[in-house]
Amino acid sequence: MSWFSQTLTSSIGKKLLMALTGLFLISFLVIHATINAMIFYNDGGETFTHWGHFMGTNPIIRTLEIVLVAGFLIHIADGLILWKNNREARPIGYAVNNRSANSTWYSRSMGLLGTLLLIFLVIHTAHFWIPNRSNQFATGEELNLYQMMLDIFQNIWVVLIYVGGCISLFWHLLHGFKSAFQSLGWNHVKYNGIISFVGTAFSIVIPLLFALMPISMYLGWVK
């Protein structure tokens, strides 16, 4: 094996990949949340559609979209491999285990939270991204995403699934954001405070912003 693949398949290398793709996906969340928040202008989707059109047609963004899909796939595949390796490291478990005495439940449940997010991701892309891109490939025309949101978010069950996805995202980020820096070796007395603060704030603000979108449309605050 070359030194490069040796590095990436080592236990530390796999965590390095998780951290790098995780931080990349975090940067995607910033863009996604910002552009979607344009619905809160409540201008019938004019600003939102303007930016949605830019994201859907700009050649640089469309190229980065391929990198984004790769980022998701690596993060998911690497996570599953780590989950399998880690389970194999302890074939016989403890009869009595008092884990809450030494760690938080969400830090121990990244695989479970990630799986919930993956299920949400499938539902979410089936609602918007896949139909829109399919239509673009077939006809070259974009769909009216704003109208689709208004329609889809009339169903209370869909709204609940989206809010559930946001709650999973909150817990996943609450550990994942800080954990990524530790995996990258960025544990330093000068930066730990700011990483912890930004990580917690990010984990609250982004999922809250996302959750408000289906809720606002369901309750008719955004029309």
């Binding site: 080592s10 236990s11 490291a89 009869a95 760690s103 530790q182």
Partner: protein, 254 residues
């Protein structure tokens, strides 16, 4: 004696690596609260010998918290309920009269059970053999002051070197990861001038050996550090990640 306790013990018994084990229940009366946990096991074993039964095998040596031999998973936590102590430093006053105490061996693929509560921790020795050393030429030791070492670096190296290799980090980790142990062993040398010669090859080889032994990866839950009897810091794991990634991307070992 007044103030002594009655306890129920649920102890893991296993004849050897190959056979399946199981829990056995024992009753102990008149346990002094001033006994250490291991002394309580001595009392149990004397009782078992008198009854003509096989005593419980458990690891112990110094009984003053520095050898790293004792390794019991007590009521769901390595080294029991207290922080920063080994089993031998845990006293029965940390329990209450009438308690049921469950005692299991460390559980990890890399730490097979030899007998009862004794596990094989040779994997740690092999990780250290892979690179946890420095090469020193023979001859007189040079004057200590000829190697300037910042106080902070010496302190950090000393804190890492406090690791006694008991394996509580592996036992506590949900992934049975040995990263706290390996990172302490890498850090204690990487921080000092004497450790510079083999610095990158050390990180590469020790991590490779750690992976070969079948330990898991790190999820940064912090359970290892919380349960470590020497309270080794998670900063060491971050340092190991830097050492390893830096070595992999810059050393001339292809």
């Amino acid at each position: 004696m007044e103030g002594n306790m009655s306890l129920s013990l649920k102890v893991w018994r296993q004849s050897n690596k190959e056979t399946a084990g199981g829990f056995e229940n024992y009753k102990l009366d008149s346990v002094s609260p001033d006994m250490s946990f291991l002394e309580m096991f001595d009392v149990l074993n004397e009782q078992l010998i008198e009854e003509g039964k096989e005593p419980v095998a458990f690891d112990h040596d110094c009984r003053e918290g520095i050898c790293g031999s004792c390794s019991m998973y007590i009521n769901g936590r390595p080294h029991g309920p207290l922080r920063g102590v080994t089993v031998c430093q845990l006293h029965m006053r940390s329990f209450n009269d009438g308690d049921t105490i469950v005692v299991e061996p460390w559980r990890a693929q890399a730490f097979p059970v030899i007998k009862d509560l004794v596990v094989d921790r040779d994997a740690f020795d092999r990780v250290v053999s892979a690179g946890g050393f420095i090469s020193v030429n023979t001859g007189n030791a040079q004057d200590a002051n000829s190697l300037p070492i910042p106080k902070e670096a010496a302190d950090d190296a000393f804190s890492a070197a406090a690791c006694i290799g008991c394996g509580a980090c592996v036992a506590a980790c949900k992934n049975a990861s040995a990263m706290l142990f390996v990172s302490a062993k890498i850090s204690q040398l990487a921080l000092l001038p004497q450790g510079q010669a083999e610095r990158s090859i050390r990180a590469e080889k020790m991590v490779a050996q750690m992976d070969a032994e079948g330990f898991g990866a790190c999820t940064n839950t912090g359970a290892c550090s919380a349960e470590c009897p020497k309270e080794i810091s998670m900063e060491n794991i971050a340092r190991m990640n830097r050492e390893y990634i830096g070595a992999k991307f810059s050393s001339s070992a292809v």
